[in-house]
Amino acid sequence: MALDKNQIAQRIAQELQHNTYVNLGIGIPTLVANYIPQGIDIEFQSENGVLGMGPFPFEGEEDPDMINAGKQTITTMPGAALFDSATSFAMIRGQHVQLTVLGAMEVSENGDIANWKIPGKMVKGMGGAMDLVASADNIIVAMMHTNRAGESKILKECTLPITGVNCIKKVVTNLAVLEVTKDGLKLLERAPEVSVEEIIAATEVELIIEGNIPIMQI
């Protein structure tokens, strides 16, 4: 059975390392914060200028001066810090933030990502995504494996304007966990009740498949 968005987030949360700073993008990545494993201490950075981001506020406690990069109302955790946007991107560009999780419209087998523009149709802008993907050491993409038309979002080359080249390290989709290696995309895990054949059929590029592919632990 293919994963839902929450399960994708849950699987990505297993990648979180103890005592690290993490930036979560808009959409599925935001949900990762709900599944931090026991014993793992994380501080979430939001690029508009907060470190130590906490959960959404209780109703009635929303503060217009306290939002995340998705413009959602948030709270802060003990030990949080606030700063301006240049300092925030110094943290990102200076590689002080260890992990970035973000969504994508397309990824390519060499680790390119496209997620900011559909020419002639949708132009929302790149926001902080280009800075994040150009600098973070570890970048994980959270997305559905195929688009609404059922076509693979994992391509030989991105067809949409790209956000960054050769930058992503892993892709977690509703069907599979993939790793970007210098030889191509390697299939690491499959979703429960999803066969390797189904993943191959849903993926435009040829995958590196070695031995038995384990099932994701959700």
């Binding site: 506020p57 413009k71 132009v123």
Partner: protein, 233 residues
């Protein structure tokens, strides 16, 4: 103490004319100079270049200036959530320069800090890099980004004093301190304006040297764009 306090918003906006470049602080609708924007939207000035991370929503923030077609060009990083903006951009009425958010912040900071340009890895290999100088540092490609300055910078702070010193609150700080540095005339509007000497110098985020005019905003709507809450258990 050099007094920066002006008596009203008319004095604060004196000299703002058509075809000028304006920086406008804020992220989404958080920390935007509401009073300045509303006043600008009542003025007969057009052909503006606006540098702002976002473009407001249809009926609030910079969206008000877009509705009246006062803006000729936007320099931003993210412009979603604004139907009129998208319409003007796709029809070609509005010129739009989209740049990475970190580069936008740093370009403002550099403009105020007397650094004409800098190299950054952000945008390498993308549309953003087209026509820009590329250079490798530490084996990694970087592109040359130039500094930004403006005729006017409109910023919003929580508290300020008559000397122009500013203290921001929460994530409403965002681009405001950087744009304050980069304006030829920086107009700061604050929720609370106090006489010089009442703010603790240790707590100042933006020093008054970067601010030319300061006033207390008449009222603040402080609209929330994405109200998200959790339920009490």
């Amino acid at each position: 103490m050099i007094n920066k306090a002006v008596n009203n918003i008319e004095e604060a906006l004196e000299g703002a004319e058509s075809n000028m470049t304006f920086m406008v602080g804020g992220f989404g609708l958080s920390g935007i100079p509401e009073n300045c924007i509303t006043a600008l939207a009542k003025k007969e000035i057009f052909g503006l270049t606006c540098i702002s991370n976002n473009a407001g929503v249809d009926d609030f923030g910079l969206g008000l200036l877009l509705q009246r077609k006062q803006i000729k060009k936007m320099i931003s990083s993210y412009v979603g959530e604004n139907a009129e903006f998208e319409r003007q951009m796709l029809s070609g009425e509005l010129e739009v320069d989209l740049i990475p958010q970190g580069s936008l912040a740093e370009r403002c900071r550099a403009g105020g800090a007397g650094i004409p340009a800098f190299f950054t890895p952000a945008g390498y290999g993308t549309e953003v890099a087209e026509g820009k100088e590329m250079r490798e540092y530490n084996g990694k490609p970087h592109i040359l980004e130039s500094a930004l300055t403006a005729d006017f910078a409109f910023v919003k702070a929580w508290k300020g004093d008559a000397a122009g010193n500013l203290i921001f609150k929460g994530t409403a700080r965002n681009f405001n301190p950087l744009m304050a540095m980069a304006g030829k005339i920086t107009v700061a509007e604050v929720e609370v304006l106090v006489p010089a000497g009442e703010l603790d110098p240790n707590q100042i985020h933006t020093a008054g040297i970067f601010v030319q005019r300061i006033f207390q905003g008449e009222k603040y709507e402080k609209r929330i764009e994405q109200r998200t809450v959790r339920t009490r258990e």
